[in-house]
C-alpha cells in the first residue's frame, strides 16, 4: 500500500473506489447506483469547469469569508514553554465551522443538477446548520436528519437550522446520534433520489461523497500554505498539523496540500474522541484498534463487534461521536503518513478551559480534542517546532454542555 505523489488523495482510489485496495468503495443498494453514478459524472465535469471553479471561489471568498486567519497563540506557547503553538481559525468561516465548505459545494452541485431539494445528516449540528444556510442562500428546500440525543445537546445549532427554514427530522433509532442520522438520511435518499440531492456531512459514505467533501474542505490547506509562506518566507522545516477526526473532513482539508511533504518536515496528527475517561465506549476507530468493516456504504476501520454489528459510541463531542471514519484516513494510517491518537472527554474539556483562559479563542469540543494533544506534546518539544491546530469549530453550540461540565456561563 503506497501513497502517490502529485495526485490529490481524493483521486488516489482504484476503479472500484477503494483507497489502498481496501478502504472506501460504494456499498449501496441498487436503487442508489444511478443517482450515485449521475452525481459522480456531474462532479467530474464540474471540477474541470472553469466557470464552476470561479463560482466556488467567489462564494468561498464572499460568502464563507476565505481566508480564515492563521495566528500564533503566544500566551499558550509561553505557558507551555515548548514548541510554538499556532492556530488556523477556521471557526471564523461563515456559520462557525469548516462544514460550510462542503455544504456550499453540495448546494452548488444540487443547483447544477437541477434538483430543488437537499437533505443531509448532522451530529454536532454544524453540518446541518451550514447546509440549511447554503440551502437558503441558493433557494433549495432542506431537510436535516439528526439523532434525538444530539438535538438535545446541540440546541443552538438546531435553532439556527430552523431559523434558516430547514426541517429537522429527529432520529430515534439506535444510539440516537450521528450514526443513526446518516442511516436515516440515506434511507430517505433511497426513497427520494429522483428529485432530491443528498449531502453527506463528512468525508465518509460512498466514494463520491468522500471525494466531494475532501475537495471542498481542501480550501483550508490551500489557504494555510499561502499563509505559511507569507509568515515564514517558506514552508518551515518542522511542522506538526494537529486536527480532530470524526469523519475526517476537517483533518483532510487541513492536510491535503501537505500530504506530499516528508513526514519529518510536516507531521500529520489526527485526534479522535476517546470518550469518558473510564468508559469502554469511545469513537476512536483509528487509534483504538478496530477492524475494517462496512458502514454507510464504505469500508473503513469501524467500531463494531465480532459479528459486524456497529458498536455504540460515546463522546462529549457530538461531532466526533461516530463509529466509522473516512477511508482516506484509514489509508493515511496504514501508509503511516499520519499518526492517530485520541483525547478523552476530560482532556478535551481541560484543553478547552486552558485555551479559553489564555487566548482570545473559543474552540468547540471537537477541536478541543486537537488542542488536548497539542498541550500534551508541546512542552516536550523545542521552540523551533511549529504546532498548528485547526480550530475548526466555535463553542457557542456547546454552551449547555460547557455550563454543565465546567460551570461556564
Amino acid at each position: 500500500m503506497k501513497l502517490k505523489r502529485g495526485i490529490p488523495l481524493i483521486d488516489q482510489h482504484d476503479q472500484h473506489g477503494f483507497w489502498g485496495g481496501k478502504f472506501g468503495g460504494s456499498f449501496i443498494p441498487e436503487t442508489l447506483k444511478k443517482p450515485v453514478e449521475d452525481l459522480t459524472n456531474e462532479f467530474k465535469k464540474l471540477r474541470k469547469d472553469k466557470r464552476f471553479i470561479k463560482k466556488r471561489d467567489h462564494y468561498f471568498k464572499n460568502y464563507i469569508g476565505a481566508p480564515t486567519s492563521f495566528v500564533k497563540l503566544d500566551n499558550l506557547t509561553n505557558q507551555l514553554g515548548g514548541a510554538q503553538i499556532w492556530a488556523k481559525v477556521v471557526s471564523e468561516a461563515n456559520g462557525g465551522a469548516h462544514k460550510i465548505y462542503n455544504a456550499t459545494v453540495h448546494a452548488l452541485i444540487c443547483k447544477a443538477m437541477g434538483k430543488k431539494y437537499i437533505v443531509g445528516d448532522t451530529g454536532a449540528g454544524y453540518a446541518g446548520k451550514m447546509l440549511s444556510m447554503a440551502a437558503k442562500k441558493f433557494g433549495l428546500k432542506c431537510k436535516i436528519f439528526m439523532g434525538a440525543k444530539d438535538i438535545k445537546r446541540q440546541k443552538p445549532n438546531c435553532d439556527a437550522m430552523r431559523k434558516n427554514g430547514a426541517e429537522i427530522v429527529p432520529v430515534y433509532s439506535g444510539s440516537q446520534t450521528l450514526v443513526d442520522a446518516v442511516s436515516e438520511c440515506m434511507r430517505y435518499w433511497v426513497s427520494n433520489c429522483d428529485n432530491t440531492h443528498m449531502c453527506v456531512g463528512s468525508t465518509v459514505g460512498p466514494n463520491i461523497f468522500v471525494k466531494i467533501c475532501g475537495w471542498s474542505t481542501a480550501q483550508i490547506s490551500r489557504e494555510l500554505k499561502v499563509q505559511l509562506k507569507s509568515e515564514f518566507k517558506k514552508i518551515p522545516n518542522k511542522i506538526k498539523l494537529i486536527n480532530c477526526v470524526g469523519g475526517g473532513s476537517s483533518a483532510y482539508g487541513f492536510w491535503s496540500e501537505f500530504i506530499d511533504y516528508d513526514k519529518k518536515q510536516i507531521e500529520l496528527i489526527g485526534v479522535e474522541a476517546g470518550g469518558p475517561k473510564n468508559s469502554k465506549l469511545h469513537a476512536a476507530p483509528l487509534s483504538r484498534k478496530t477492524k475494517i468493516g462496512i458502514l454507510h456504504g464504505a469500508a473503513s476501520y469501524v467500531c463494531q463487534n465480532k459479528e459486524g454489528q456497529i458498536n455504540e459510541t460515546e463522546s462529549i463531542s457530538a461531532g466526533l461521536d461516530y463509529p466509522g471514519v473516512s477511508p482516506m484516513h484509514c489509508f493515511l494510517k496504514d501508509t503511516k503518513r499520519a499518526r492517530y491518537t485520541y483525547a478523552t472527554d476530560e482532556e478535551a474539556l481541560n484543553a478547552h478551559q486552558m485555551v479559553t483562559k489564555f487566548e482570545n479563542l473559543n474552540p468547540s469540543l471537537e477541536p478541543s480534542h486537537a488542542f488536548a494533544e497539542a498541550i500534551k506534546i508541546a512542552p516536550k518539544l523545542s521552540k523551533d517546532i511549529i504546532i498548528i491546530v485547526n480550530s475548526c469549530g466555535d463553542a457557542k453550540k456547546d454552551r449547555d454542555i460547557l455550563r454543565e461540565r465546567l460551570g461556564k456561563k
Partner: protein, 266 residues
C-alpha cells in the same frame, strides 16, 4: 439439475399463480419463535426469505428495522441464523430458503466461511442488499460454485445497459424493487407501471424468475399477480409487532396473514 428455487417457481406456474415469497427476520422475536413462524408460514409460502439482522440497515423501513433491532436485542447471533435455517431445512427439505442481509455481516464472518456455512445449512440462495452489481461479481461467482443462488436486485433506476448486464450475470431469480423506497413503503407507483417495467425485465430472458417486492400488502398483492413471484416482508414484520403488543400468538397471527396473502393470488 434444477434448483429448489426454480422448482418452486415451476410449481406455482403449474398452479397458474405467482410464487409467494415471505420475509421474516431470524430471531424475531426470539430464536425459537422465529423458527416456529418459519415452519408454519412455509405451509403457504413457496419460498422463505430469512433476514440476518444488522443494526445499521441503510435500505430498510421502520417495520423491518423494528424486527431486526428486536432480534438483535434478544441476542441473535449469525450462527443462530444458520442453525434456524438448518433446523428448518431438516423438517422442510424441499422448501427453498434464502438468507438476506447486509454485506458487513458476511465480510466479518469471511465470505468463504459464510458460504460454507450456507451450504451446510442447506441455504438455497442469498440476497445482499448493499453489494450491487458489478461489485458483487466475484462473490456471486463463489455462490454459484457452491450451488447457492445469488439473487441480483434491479430497481426503477437501473439503466437499460445495466439491466442487460445484470440479467446476464444473474442466476435463477431476479428481484425487482417496485419503486424508489425503503422496504415497507406505501406503494406509490401504479401496479400497471410496475408491471410494465417488470415485463421489460422478464422479456430480456424468459427463463429467469423475476419477483417483485417492496410495498406489497394484502391490499396490493392481487394487482401484481402477473409476476413470477411476489415478496411480502414489512406487512409480516408489522404483524409480529402487533401480535406482541396485543400479547397474541405471533405464530398463529402471522400464519393467518400469509394464508390470506396466498388466497389472494390463487
Amino acid at each position: 439439475m434444477s434448483s429448489l428455487i426454480n422448482k418452486a417457481f415451476q410449481n406455482a406456474k403449474n398452479e397458474n399463480r405467482p410464487a409467494l415469497l415471505t420475509y421474516t427476520v431470524a430471531g424475531d422475536n426470539n430464536k425459537k419463535r422465529s423458527l416456529e413462524i418459519l415452519k408454519s408460514i412455509s405451509n403457504y409460502a413457496d419460498i422463505c426469505e430469512l433476514g440476518f439482522p444488522h443494526n445499521t440497515p441503510i435500505a430498510d423501513g421502520g417495520q423491518i428495522q423494528t424486527s431486526a433491532y428486536r432480534a438483535i436485542k434478544n441476542g441473535i447471533k449469525i450462527n443462530d441464523v444458520f442453525s434456524i435455517a438448518k433446523d428448518f431445512k431438516s423438517k422442510k427439505k424441499n422448501k427453498p430458503i434464502i438468507l438476506m442481509g447486509y454485506y458487513n455481516m458476511i465480510f466479518q464472518f469471511n465470505e468463504n466461511k459464510f458460504l460454507e456455512k450456507c451450504k451446510k445449512s442447506k441455504v438455497d440462495g442469498l440476497i445482499v442488499v448493499d453489494l450491487p452489481y458489478p461489485e458483487n461479481k466475484s462473490f456471486a461467482a463463489k455462490c454459484k460454485k457452491k450451488g447457492i443462488n445469488f439473487i441480483q436486485l434491479v430497481s426503477p433506476t437501473t439503466s437499460e445497459i445495466r439491466l442487460k448486464k445484470i440479467i446476464k450475470d444473474s442466476h435463477d431469480m431476479i428481484y425487482y424493487i417496485s419503486m424508489l423506497s425503503t422496504t415497507g413503503g406505501i406503494l406509490k407507483v401504479s401496479p400497471k407501471k410496475i408491471l410494465e417495467k417488470y415485463s421489460k425485465i422478464k422479456n430480456q430472458n424468459k427463463s429467469k424468475n423475476v419477483v417483485i417486492g417492496f410495498g406489497i400488502t394484502e391490499k396490493t398483492i392481487k394487482s401484481l399477480k402477473k409476476a413470477d413471484g411476489l415478496v411480502v416482508g414489512s406487512a409480516i414484520c408489522k404483524e409480529i409487532s402487533n401480535s406482541i403488543n396485543k400479547r397474541q400468538n405471533t405464530v398463529t397471527n402471522v400464519t393467518n396473514i400469509v394464508k390470506r396473502l396466498k388466497n389472494k393470488i390463487k
